[in-house]
């Protein structure tokens, strides 16, 4: 290879590396706020994948674009290119690279997953994935156990210790939370984008699910598993507050009389909808609005 080419390739690789690292850093801004310990880990893994992915994508397309620009046949050139059928060294290298990458990626993803220590279903029966040290000082054992009841199309949260029910999920910051997920009808999915956590909820099963919120604020909780006609309306707020505020909220909610909560699916079903195009196809009737101690009659305007 000519020295000039080598210089060119090295320069290109350095430029690529720079751009890729920059993209990796940029990727942190593509997410909602990092409101849970898990989000720190996932964003880190994602940034790593973006860095690597940018390098691969630009590396390969760069070569292609170079060919398109500089290796075009001229108008009257009908001859063939060089007859190159293969190159064993190159092929071996190019097979080895993805194999190594796969093990690296899988290993790193495993490491991150292990640190997240999400207790998915049936975790106890299988590998015990211990906690590594998460980047923030959070408790190891869940302090708060909350029952989550999902149905078409509403969320209800029950705090068994204080006997409070709510359609809004309140959580104390920096405590490990344990949810017991149940569904009364179809598959639903618990998903809080700011926490980066998600778990399907299966009827007839109680699925334990753990995570740790670390940032106070109000976030959205959505249904992530398509659950029928009013699927899109099945969202609510998650409020992460200081442990003191949380206790105050619990105490106050407890004093309230249970009353029917606002429910968008039920509201839409009963109201005469104004749409350009209406089919009137029958739908599963939304469950009655849940009767809870605490609810917020809000329209679904939300922070990211």
């Amino acid at each position: 290879m000519k020295p000039r080419n080598i210089v060119f390739i090295v320069a290109y690789a350095i430029a690529l590396t720079g751009i890729s690292l920059w993209m990796g850093q940029l990727s942190y801004s593509w997410f909602p706020p990092q409101a849970s310990a898990e989000s720190l880990l996932i964003d880190k893994l994602f940034a790593f994948l973006v860095t690597l992915g940018t390098f691969i994508f630009l590396g390969i397309t760069g070569v292609m674009i170079y060919s398109v620009v500089f290796q075009r046949a001229t108008k009257y050139d009908f001859s063939d290119g060089p007859h190159i059928e293969g190159n064993v060294t190159l092929e071996v290298v190019w097979t080895a690279i993805p194999i190594l990458l796969v093990f690296w990626l899988a290993g790193y993803s495993y490491y991150i997953y292990d640190q997240m220590a999400i207790r998915g279903p049936m975790e106890m029966m299988h590998l015990s994935m211990g906690h590594g040290d998460t980047t923030t000082a959070v408790e190891e054992q869940p302090t708060e156990e909350i029952e989550v009841i999902s149905k078409q199309w509403a969320w209800v949260f029950r705090y068994p210790k204080s006997n409070v029910t709510s359609t809004e999920l309140h959580l104390p910051a920096n405590h490990r939370i344990k949810l017991a997920l149940t569904s009364e009808d179809v598959l639903h999915g618990l998903y809080i984008p700011a926490f980066r956590v998600k778990q399907d909820i299966v009827p007839n099963e109680t699925i334990d699910f753990e995570f740790t919120p670390i940032k106070e604020g109000t976030y959205r909780l959505r249904d992530s598993q398509f659950s029928g006609t009013y699927f899109a309306t099945m969202q609510t707020n998650v409020v992460v507050e200081s442990p003191e505020d949380y206790q105050t909220w619990l105490a106050e909610a407890k004093k309230r009389k249970p009353s029917p909560a606002y429910n968008q699916a039920a509201a839409e079903y009963s109201e005469h909808t104004q749409r350009t195009f209406k089919t009137g196809w029958p739908t599963v009737i939304p469950a009655d609005p849940p009767v809870v101690n605490y609810s917020k009659n809000e329209s679904p305007l939300s922070p990211l």
């Binding site: 060919s67 059928e85 993803s109 959505r222 598993q225 350009t276």
Partner: protein, 559 residues
């Protein structure tokens, strides 16, 4: 290729041109000619592509504003369910089978498929499937609304209480399309194994044949699982069995295993032939042999094999324990090895070539670039922690449309442009093709790139309304979608007008190497006068070996 070969192969055989022009009616008949059936598949599936596309426009029209204000929610759910189903079962599968039908027998030197009648029967089930699907809009319950996965229990909910519902028709249609695909797969696999011309060893087959062969093997082991799942679902829905119905003790997760055991490999049934198309097109327009031919051929089979071991990556967030998540993460990532080999081979083929950017080459290169992008996001999805966040969000929708539109549909366009002169005997208008490419390329990226940030921020798929913070990217995506919808117009105009009155095509307009380019455009009824005797490797650009030893006989010029 030798000069004399170019000369002989460029003889325009007028009589065949007349034959095709006068005989357009045969495309509407129960023909057993694999070429007629191929075109029947292609045209039928393209019509469904347009219908599925109109549904996509409705979806994107709804999503241009946060509120659910264009159509009602039930109809919206019907739209995305039917869009997905039609695009997969009535566009990608049949169009690729159509292309395989047309090309595979010619490429291996056969006169027809192994079972011509079975072939025709398999095709005629496609319009039946389509009619059933469309009929579902006219039953009182409306069309199926539970997504193309039709996960129970949602798919088992039947508020009308009637037997014949949209969901019922949907399951029936999917099952019939499965039967049709199995018939097609048996036929293609048998044809490749049994009907190759003398000298056409496995390692002399064009990669397109390898790819189709590998893909159809997947159909053979995968489809029975889907069909079984569909039949069990049908029983649950109609006669009250409870395989999947949790209210009666059934297990809905079991359905997901049945479903994905087939439907993951199914994406390779779709993508492998596209890899084959890439492997045919890059050498021709780069004028170089396919780099690493053997390893590319074998990697097709490897992909088919590994594809059977990765289905649980669609269920990371479902009732899947941690150890299983980790195992399937590893197997999923492994698919990137044979795929990476192929990408490398294509880039190395292009590198140092003498590129001609015809429409077909543009589409193939554009598709390859978008495939690499999809591959990068695919790796992200395979990593369990990332998938836990983006699963079922628009990130996934963006990813798989880069595969299904950016790669598969664009690759299909490349194939149609490349083989159009061969199939019709006419040339298309190059400038219209270029316009089509640029509209489609810009439209695809404008449509599907914004879906990635949407997903990362937490916008879920299958929602008819969304929180206002997602508006910006949704508007961009919808504009891209309308542009993409428009991009099909120059294509249709070009194809229809060229077919009727385009310039007469020579037998080998691209100076390509391959059996199909030796014979007239369009090929005569039995393809070859004498069975060709193959004497050299495919893709021998830059060499002057003859491809067959009995060229005169093959063309019927006995002197």
């Amino acid at each position: 290729m030798t000069d004399s070969q170019v000369k002989t192969t460029n003889i325009i055989t007028e009589s065949y041109q007349d034959l095709s022009a006068r005989n357009w009616k045969r495309y509407f008949s129960f023909s057993t000619d694999h070429k007629v059936i191929g075109i029947q598949y292609l045209v039928t599936s393209f019509i469904f592509f347009l219908i599925g596309g109109i549904f996509a426009m409705v979806i994107r029209g709804e999503l241009i504003t946060p509120e659910a204000d264009l159509v009602d929610r039930t109809f919206y759910n019907g739209m995305f369910t039917m869009h997905g189903t039609i695009m997969l079962f009535l566009w990608t599968f049949p169009s690729l089978v159509g292309l395989a039908n047309y090309l595979v027998p010619i490429m291996i030197g056969a006169k027809d498929m192994a079972f011509p009648r079975l072939n025709a029967a398999a095709f005629w089930m496609v319009p039946i499937v389509g009619t059933l699907m469309m009929a579902s809009f006219f039953v009182p319950s409306g069309s199926a609304q539970s997504g193309w996965w039709s996960y129970p229990p949602v798919s088992l909910q039947n508020p009308t209480g009637q037997l014949i519902t949209g969901q019922f028709l949907w399951i029936l249609a999917v099952a019939i399309s499965g039967v049709s695909s199995i018939m097609g797969a048996v036929n293609i696999v048998t044809t490749v194994v049994k009907m190759r011309a003398p000298g056409m060893t496995f390692f002399r087959m064009p990669i397109f044949v390898w790819a189709v062969f590998s893909a159809q093997i997947i159909q053979l082991f995968g489809l029975p699982a889907l069909t079984a799942g569909a039949v069990m679902l049908l029983f649950d829905l109609t006669v009250g069995t409870s395989f999947f119905d949790p209210s009666q003790g059934g297990n809905p997760i079991l359905f997901q295993h049945f479903f994905w055991f087939y439907s993951h490999p199914a994406v390779y049934v779709i993508i492998l032939p596209i890899f084959g198309i890439f492997s045919e097109i890059f050498p021709v327009y780069s004028r170089k042999p396919l780099f690493g031919y053997k390893i590319v051929a074998i990697s097709s089979l490897l992909i088919a094999a590994v594809s059977g071991l990765v289905w649980v990556h669609h269920m990371y967030a479902s009732g899947t324990p941690g150890w299983m998540r980790m195992l399937f993460m590893l197997s999923t990532m492994c698919v990137s090895v044979p795929t990476g080999i192929k990408v490398f081979a294509w880039v190395a083929t292009i590198w140092g070539g003498k590129l001609r950017l015809n429409t077909a080459m543009l589409f193939a290169m554009g598709a390859l670039i978008m495939f690499i992008f999809a591959g990068v996001t695919g790796i992200m999805l395979s990593a369990v922690p990332v998938d836990i966040h983006v699963n079922n969000t628009y990130f996934v929708v963006g990813h798989f449309h880069y595969v299904l539109y950016g790669t598969v549909t664009m690759g299909m366009y490349a194939a149609i442009y490349h083989w159009f002169p061969k199939m019709t005997g006419r040339m298309y208008y190059e400038s219209w093709g270029q316009v089509h490419f640029w509209l489609a390329f810009i439209g695809t990226n404008l449509n599907f790139l914004p879906m990635h940030p949407l997903g990362l921020q937490g916008m879920l798929r299958r929602v008819a309304s969304y929180d206002p913070e997602y508006t910006f990217w949704n508007v961009l995506a919808s504009l891209g979608a309308f542009l993409l919808g428009m991009s099909t117009l120059p294509f249709i105009v070009n194809m229809v007008s060229s077919w009727i009155q385009g310039p007469i095509a020579p037998s080998n307009p691209w100076r390509a190497i391959g059996l199909e380019w030796l014979i007239a455009s369009p090929p005569p009824v039995e393809n070859f006068e004498d069975t060709p005797i193959i004497v050299s490797e495919p893709y021998s650009y830059g060499k002057s070996d003859p491809l067959v030893s009995n060229l005169e006989g093959v063309l019927g010029h006995h002197e």
